[in-house]
Symmetry: D3
Subunit: 337 residues, 6 copies
């Protein structure tokens, strides 16, 4: 029987310009769907687990299309609530070379922002569940969404389900102060914390720390502080060096309270930048839930994240075999025939 | 010097499914832009007049794209205010045969709904203006938009500018009661009234009258009542018989206070259904402003509306020569070479 | 709890030319997926029932893609076997006006042709099932497929499940003699028979009868003979007059052993001709399983079939509300806004 | 051994707007290639004959692309001269319903206009040739092209090859006076004359005669006059009634010096209007060269022309079997499977 | 009040192959419009200035489409003359890796080549103008175009308008001798000279100097000679190292008569190679007209040019903010969300 | 008179996903056609030789489309047999960065696998032929195809025609043992052997040798062994280092029995990986048949192969001039205008 993982968050329609066109040039949008936790659920289904996504979408053809996209990739959507005003959207202008990708969020009054705790029967939803995952984006959407996130984490924790939270701070969504206030309340119910970005206060001392600029020696210090304060079982983070919008070096680090493990580094040529962090989270969960060590799970997550950069859309469609091959070191991209 | 016509309203991004796909099937959207009054302004520019459109769009790349679309077709956009939360959208699933077109409006918190009268300098905007046109859609969007519409009509009237209002009742936007209440206040400042649909109360007696079902003899009765109550100079309306989403018979009627003129009827095969009414309004204004009789202007408007059905998008790109040819009776569609 | 309907058959990848191009002109194919019984399952899910499809697809990315397509539209695919050599394909060149659609089947050695009865646990599959549906296409594919079809019908019948068979004779797949021999063996386990085409011997006397050419008075005679010979509860058939590849008049007839009901006729402009018969079958099953009379179910099926012609792809994405509106007589295709 | 037919003329790149867009709306052009005589050669290859096309194209990638298009459909291009300034183009905006197709020719200084007789070795080209065909478009392009046309007709005639000329008057290319002057000189070398439009003077008396407006009784009178003056073996013409740019009724007539034959009439829904006349010419030549009667050849040509309207591009890709089926009366467009 | 800049030149329709296809492979062309001076005008509008473009286009839908493209991006097109035979075209096959981009110009008899000085009222056009820009391409098109260029420069100079000339030598258009002869006559009316390529004789001594191969020390020598001979206020040039069609290193240099400034170098991954030089010119003009130093303006121009390589089409749609960010050194292409 | 080269093999329809989509994401396939020997024939036609391809394709529109593709690029297809069940297909998911390209072959029961020797009249086919080429893929398809390959090689050899064989081992098609057994029988009739991969036993000793990992010094050793055993005139091979699916370093080596020549190395950015080996073979043949030295021919082949990576599809459309330019060292990709 496959492991069951429940994730909670927003599913948005993504409208992106084709052929490297800028917004002001395009005459069409490519449609896909995504959202941090939805992307994790889809990746886990892709790896053979039973991924369940909970959210709220409007009761119209656009909400149905979002659900259909999730179903297409195997996600169990039966607990998604229907109603509310509109489906959240985001517009994406993919970057290239030294031109950065542009994102215009269009989430005002999205259905998820008005989702009520009463619309979700956690006893039913969490029956037989092994893992619950959510992110710091969901509570940023509205006070109701924050309350829903907290309620879900509490319910999961009460049932002994492993929980993970990808902090994922987005400055376009809320202030660092508000984020810190809300997220801090979630942490007691979280086992695995991903992305303890310093702007959220997950550090001691008086200096903001940007992990990407840290030397490997410094990671452990920050992670130790976070561990000391919140007691997470594992703390993990992706690491990224942006040479340009087309070329990045990606890796990840994980801390188990004792030592830090820094994964292999991958130089990726980027087809689609979005969802790489979610792909790490999905890979990490897959690794841990299937019995890999923390280091092994982080390696799987890092390789999954690297491969995601080569796949269009928010969701990762790399197979376990492909990811394992990359973990083993074959990134030669040799044609198989 | 070309005649100057100012129109006020919303400009939306339209996202439509290609190749007769339903919403749940599509993987891309074709983008165009439209809105009743914007469509009128663009058509008038197309006919050689000086069309000016006033509205408010967000200060981002999507708002800029809407402006660029208007500029492309010659519309003067210098007075459009920038700001607000988002650009209004609408999703279109074009119908065919017995399957009706579906529209999902996504206008919540659109910039125009928050536009303030103070953002528009009517002295500057109306300098040298010959005509002002707006519709019943704009005041339906918000109380602020209704106030803006009223202010614009009053300002135009005070300057002796001819004004027209296309009532254009949309039941998805507001109730008939609310519409009647708001629109009634606009009417004293309107010279030409288009589309006096009975649901708005533009009739005496106790029976709702659907113009499309009227015999030609009945039009005059309704128009006489409207004329008696509001004193419009001209009252006009398009008339449409829907055989299917693909085949319609379209015409128009105009009343000058004395007699009613029913235009030629056109059997159209529909490429794009949206904007046909705006195209009539644009043609009617063009006709009247260039000195045609009421009947002649209505014929020009009806032919323009018929041709619009054959053109993708909200806006009419038929030329004056093409419309005049159709008015004269040549709808043979013979290739010219 | 939704009614559960199981269908058995082949799911093929369909590769069709875009923009009315002929095969020799095209540089790309549009991809969709279809097959008679898969189309029925998808339509039923679309109407809110629990549709389960059983089949066999190869264990590669193409087989997965076929499954994903079914999942997207809500079909339960958990019992589909994986393995075999290849996914069946068919190439479609859509016709228009007097040019007929061309189909090139490419089903040689498709996985379903080698599916073994042992790969399907009918006790598990049929648990809680209300209806089982298959067609005369599946047994035509191979002797193993014919044996599987028979086994499935027997198993369903043994469990008291209502069964339906759409005869669907395809001369490119097998001879009339072979078809008659194989299908006759299935009939004792069938409750509702669709499409008793005379070439299959479902008539007495010495004349082949083409239903489409029959006067309404003649239907009952043929249906009475079929009823007398096989004892089906209902016998139904679509009826079609082809004016051209673009314009057809479609309707249906159903016989309950006493009287024949001929549905409304619909003049359809065709966007996609394939799957119209499956859409009738799906609509008929939906009607009967939800308690409509035979006549009512046939009307629902005929309207569903008519609407299908306006939707790209093999599967029907019309909603129950849209179909009911058409049954009530509104085929005006008026835009809703 | 297949019959060999040589044709002479211009091959142009055709750039057409997709999806019924107007020129001012389009962001892309679909590319195909065509020209009256090239279309005839391609159709004949399609019917199994040996079609040879002679022309001149520039020695660049665009000229090569035109040749490649011809080769793709089987045309022998070995005698096409290379050189000159540019490839002739034409821009096409396909019409629909009452909106007519627009053509913008862009043939200035095209290679064919500067082709010299010395670039073509008629002894080699005409070896083993059964038929030579050209049109009134080629001599309209330039004086050199007119001289080349005359030289080719003379050379063919001298070798006893059957010759045909499709007059094809295009008012955008030259005046009626100039056309009459040039074409009259070609006629003595022509066996079969297609399209004796009255504007070219192929009538006696003082009235312009538009064949499309003639009653069937009048055809013979005009054809008799043309026959008397020029002595053509056969005189033929397509006949077209344009209901709209989407719907035409097409047929053809042929006169053998004794009686006139009017073919079946076909009501066509138009996918692509261009090349229908060339398709008639190709069908007529195919019929006559393979031994059909004049009436039979005209029927084949008319059916070929009707089917052409359903096929994108300038060239006809209908098969002999499809055309013969239509000649026999089956225009039902029934899907074959 | 925005600064007003007038530019004079040709606007061409550009037809480019999609998806890295070669000319012989493509079945469609992507359409955009461009021309050196038009690109400069559009870029300046993009930066908030008032860009005015003067030219001549044919009075047909293609000429209108070119104007619409300019209007879309804010260019004032009111002074463009209408008439002449045809719109100039160019065909582009974008290169990649070691395969170079191919350009086929198709400008024969383009409207601009026949534009007469009398069609332009320089008093009206230059009213309130701050800058006039043109290039060495325009005078290369025809003697009339050369005369027009000279007249415009003289008129601008007479009104005290700053003038710039981008020499832009194209060997496919004219010989070096002819270019030298014509361009030399323009120089006395030019303030800022861009691209003094040695083939045009802008050097002393007997050796052709290719700037791209120069060591930085050598620039000053050449620029000093040019300065000495022609007295330009500023002399500037882009510098480019082509690693491949996909990867270039770009920068620029400017000389103010005293010292030379070499800008930052940018390693760009190329999406669209065309218009990079025009983008430098536009950036330089923007910088100088808004009060930057020569070095600062060149830096702005170089960054604008670098960003242009990442944007499809001829014109630059990078914003001032994006360019300034790059000037400051952030080319990381980090996604903004 | 151009040299005539005959090649024998399979021509497949290739269906590839656009825009870097994975199989499970795509809604369309781009169509092209290819096959090792067909690609060689097309390349040779592209270089001006007379390329003749022999094969067997089904007698339907798909088989015709394959032939049309070959004709488009100049290949003589007159000797291709028609018949059999189906056209072989292959599905391609192009890789990028560290994600490898995926190929799904769908060749079961393809027409070529059932081609009989009697369907090919080698006396007619080989008349005037200078070279015959085939590959190790063709005999891998079926025993009949292996027999046909052997018969063709024998017939060519008997007529004194130079023969070449590209071993091209594909593990998805057959085992190394079977390959060795079959290919060994072909070798006596082969003059030029390409790609003596060690898995086929073309080495002495007991160690598999992967040429790509060899130091240059080791090549000669392997080639000497192969030469000693089979007596080929030339032995050649491409060499490839895969950095990723997007970036490869390619070169080639050739051995003339005395010395080995290693060509220049090219760092290619890959647009299309398929057909690079065939492009080397085509270039090598072109070089040898037109009189280049072995080293010169290998250089031409290596440059042709490098350029192929930049061109979509299986076939090489680089010109002789472009290849020679690259051989001379200009890979700068500078735009030519």
């Amino acid at each position: 029987m496959s492991k069951k993982v429940v994730t909670l968050g927003e599913i948005m329609m993504r409208l992106s310009t084709p052929d490297y066109k800028r917004f002001v040039q395009t005459e069409s949008f490519d449609i896909t769907y995504g959202g941090g936790e939805a992307n994790v659920a889809a990746a886990l289904c892709n790896y053979g687990l039973n991924g369940v996504f909970i959210s709220k979408v409007p009761d119209n053809a656009l909400g149905q299309s979002a659900i259909n996209h999730l179903r297409r990739y195997g996600v169990d959507t039966q607990f998604i609530a229907r109603g509310g005003k509109r489906l959240g959207l985001y517009f994406l202008e993919p970057g290239v070379s030294m031109r950065a990708s542009q994102v215009i969020y269009d989430r005002a009054e999205a259905a998820i922002t008005e989702a009520d705790i009463s619309e979700f029967d956690f006893d039913q939803i969490f029956a037989g569940t092994d893992w619950f995952h959510t992110s710091g984006i969901t509570p940023a959407l509205s006070d109701k969404a924050a309350a829903l996130t907290l309620a879900a984490l509490k319910a999961a924790k009460a049932k002994g389900i492993t929980t993970s939270l990808d902090l994922n701070y987005r400055k376009k969504l809320w202030s660092a102060e508000k984020a810190r206030e809300v997220l801090t309340k979630l942490c007691p119910y979280v086992d695995i914390c991903i992305g303890p970005d310093a702007t959220l206060g997950f550090h001691t001392g008086d200096t903001d720390v940007n992990l990407a600029d840290l030397k490997l020696a410094d990671y452990q210090h920050v992670f130790e502080q976070v561990k000391a304060k919140y007691g997470f079982k594992y703390i993990a983070s992706t690491l990224r060096q942006s040479h340009s919008a087309s070329d990045n070096r990606v890796s990840a680090a994980i801390y188990d309270g004792e030592k830090i493990h820094h994964t292999k580094q991958y130089d990726v040529r980027i087809v689609d930048r979005v969802g790489a962090g979610d792909s790490f989270a999905g890979g990490l969960i897959y690794g841990l839930i299937t019995g890999l060590s923390a280091a092994g799970a982080a390696e799987f997550g890092a390789a999954a994240s690297a491969l995601k950069h080569t796949i269009p859309g928010d969701m990762n469609h790399a197979t376990v075999a492909e990811i394992e091959l990359l973990v083993k070191g074959d990134g030669s991209g040799k044609i198989q025939r």
